[in-house]
């Protein structure tokens, strides 16, 4: 670990890496502040710009943007109750009432400082746990990887926001699309009617389409309205600085517990920052001495939400770097970034390219003070960003989508893929099927099929191979409980009242 950290520090002392860190943070703030643009959209659009860059600066820029976008999402949430990121909606519960009381400055400072502390604690956790996870995963064979992919996919389907059935439909849709291309075992061409599909659906153009282009259509719908409800920039009034630090000291238990909750929720595939902040807020409210004050401007609510949602960013990176399984849709986007640099996430990343994961850890650690400073000092600038008309944002994002998908392989076919997935993503979102399960299925689908078939070949077609190791038994049993548990519980609930009557 020490060697990894030292090689990372060496890699980060280059001008390219420092510029990449600063630029990533700046772009992350801009993306995070604008309602409608999320960190996953920002990262999907940024990846094509990393083509010509070295691996370390490219990944540092992407990860910095990922974290900074979560920092920035709380600013419009607190000032005008319009969260820039979905996870910041929980911050608005108490942040906006504080603004209404004239304590906007204090709310913003508490938010930024809580985000910073949450992120810092989670980076330390990430540095220590990712290596352990990777070491553990070195012992994984095809059965364990298959079982892990099944667990990841079952969690994604169950944690679907609107409807579990719709999440499952999206997931299976993604898994079916993954089968397109040349079969890696037999060399047969499967469902590929165009030469561009022989290597499967190009992941980055599909990602840009599903996340960014589908959002462009939503922006076109609302382009007659401004991105932000503000007509003027509100002043961040109220005490900042020592008042905010005092709040953090007062609620140190909530800060610490929320950081841990955020990190471990972030590790779960499909959970993401929104679930982390909701869970943490709920727990903080239940354990608070004054639970009724939550939702009415209690700074402890902001601490719980912001510490958790920023800690979940590092949490999502842990399974991604150590196992190759993304903990969130944004982390799934990072796989595209790693693939462009010729890197494959997983346990071998720590042995073959140790400077990569450690560069991410170290850059986040050193980038944290810059993120906090920009958050505290740059509020008027970020709020001006939200005044950019939606039509201009939509036009620029549309242009970047086309530019990025073309630059991927200088092929017109990939633009067609982006357009297809953009339209499909928009139509599916209207039906309540979110792109996130589809993207996670595109990532995990190959892992699932390849390891399933490998295990069957090795075992001589014996299905019992999946129950031959303790790890795969535990993972598969957990998946079954997650998938079928709620259904069984509901059936039992119906049966018990019937029996009592």
């Amino acid at each position: 670990m020490i060697d990894g950290i030292l090689s990372a520090v060496t890699a980060l002392t280059s001008i390219d890496a420092i510029w990449a860190l600063g630029l990533g943070i700046l772009l992350g703030y801009i993306v995070g502040a604008i309602p409608g643009l999320t960190s996953s959209i920002g990262m999907a659009l940024l990846i094509p710009f990393t083509f010509g860059m070295d691996a370390v600066p490219a990944m540092v820029m992407l990860v910095a943007m990922y974290m900074a976008a979560d920092f920035a999402g709380s600013i419009p949430a607190i000032l005008v109750n319009a969260p820039g990121q979905p996870a910041a909606a929980v911050t608005a519960f108490d942040g906006y009432p504080m603004t209404q009381r004239g304590e906007a400055g204090k709310a913003l400072a508490v938010s930024v400082l809580s985000s910073g502390m949450g992120a810092l604690i989670s980076i330390v956790l990430l540095t220590f746990t990712a290596q352990q996870m990777a070491g553990f995963a070195l012992a994984f064979g095809p059965t364990e990887y298959f079982a892990l992919a099944v667990l990841g996919l079952s969690l994604v389907s169950v944690l679907g926001a609107e409807s579990k059935l719709k999440s499952l439909v999206g997931l299976l849709f993604g898994l079916l699309l993954v089968t397109i291309g040349i079969d890696s075992f037999s060399g047969q061409i499967r469902f590929a009617s165009h030469v561009g599909l022989l290597e499967g659906i190009p992941f980055l153009p599909a990602l840009i389409g599903l996340f960014a282009l589908s959002e462009v259509f939503y922006m076109l719908e609302g382009s007659k309205t401004k991105a932000s409800p503000m007509t003027t920039i509100p002043r961040a009034t109220g005490p900042r600085g020592t008042g905010a630090v005092g709040m953090l000291v007062k609620f140190w238990r909530t800060l610490l517990s929320s950081s841990f909750i955020g990190y471990f929720v972030g590790v779960i595939p499909g959970a993401g920052s929104s679930v982390a902040s909701l869970v943490s807020y709920g727990i903080a409210k239940r354990t608070s001495k004054d639970p009724d004050s939550f939702g009415k401007g209690n700074p402890e609510g902001i601490v719980a939400s912001e510490a958790a949602n920023n800690a979940s960013v590092s949490g999502a990176l842990a399974p991604l770097l150590a196992l190759g399984i993304p903990g969130s849709a944004s982390a799934a986007v990072l796989i595209g970034g790693l693939a462009i640099q010729g890197l494959e996430p997983g346990p071998m990343l720590f042995t073959r390219n140790p400077e990569m994961p450690y560069s991410i850890f170290v850059s986040l650690f050193f980038g944290m003070p810059l993120m906090v400073a920009l958050g505290l000092l740059g509020v008027p600038l970020w709020m001006k960003v939200t005044l950019i008309p939606k039509g201009i944002v939509a036009t620029v994002v549309a242009g970047i989508c086309l530019l990025g998908s073309y630059a991927f392989s200088n092929s017109i076919f990939t633009i067609g893929v982006t357009v297809f997935f953009g339209v499909a993503g928009y139509l599916l979102r209207k039906a309540g099927i979110h792109p996130a399960p589809i993207v996670l299925a595109l990532v995990l689908g190959k892992l699932l099929e390849v390891n399933f078939r490998r295990a069957m070949i090795i075992s001589g077609d014996s299905w019992t191979v999946f129950f031959s190791t303790p790890i795969s038994i535990v993972l598969l049993s957990t998946s079954c409980i997650i998938l079928f548990g709620p259904l069984l519980a509901r059936l039992l609930e119906r049966k018990i009242p019937d029996q009592s009557t």
């Binding site: 309602p35 005008v80 076109l220 002043r235 549309a398 630059a407 633009i415 077609d461």
Partner: protein, 171 residues
């Protein structure tokens, strides 16, 4: 606190009411039924196409197994979705609606995106993008000529500077 700024929730409500006439409203159930039927068709196509694949020499699990299994699961879940949507359709009178605001703008947007690759094959990236951004900005309600011109020039220069000059990726 500046009272001229409305809250986010009020803003979203106002945005939805902003142009009530310029929207396409479909019953959510019918929309879901359409999507479910599309998924069932897709899974059926994959299932029957997979039958043309040769089996594996090494295992009973061949190249067709995974696609067929997933298409069966997708078909089954889509049928469940179809069933629940039809059930809601007959049960409820006041059904929620799926709303597409500014449907003409959305349709034109899709058309513009479809035209882009064909134009690129004829005129190249820079000319296509410079021309394409103008109608797109128009349908995105960016109507001031100076703003549109700035967007077009700025974006094309940005593409040239970043990709060609800085990253060395020719477009």
């Amino acid at each position: 606190m500046n009272n001229q700024n409305s809250t986010g929730a009020e803003h979203i409500a106002k945005a939805r009411q902003a142009d009530p006439g310029n929207s396409l409203k479909i019953s959510s159930e019918w929309y879901e039924i359409t999507i479910a039927l599309a998924m069932v068709s897709m899974s059926a196509w994959f299932f029957f196409q997979a039958r043309n694949l040769r089996g594996s020499f090494f295992s009973s699990v061949g190249p067709a197994t995974f696609p067929q299994a997933i298409s069966l699961l997708l078909g089954a879940t889509s049928i469940f979705l179809l069933f629940y949507s039809v059930k809601r359709l007959f049960k409820n009178k006041n059904l929620p609606r799926t709303c597409i605001q500014r449907p003409l703008a959305i349709g034109l947007g899709v058309l513009l995106f479809c035209i882009f690759p064909y134009s690129m094959s004829k005129f190249g990236y820079y000319i296509t993008m410079a021309i394409w951004l103008v109608p797109f900005a128009w349908i995105a309600n960016v109507r001031k000529p100076l703003t549109v011109a700035s967007l077009v020039i700025g974006f094309v220069l940005f593409s040239k500077l970043v990709f060609n000059m800085l990253l060395g990726t020719p477009l």
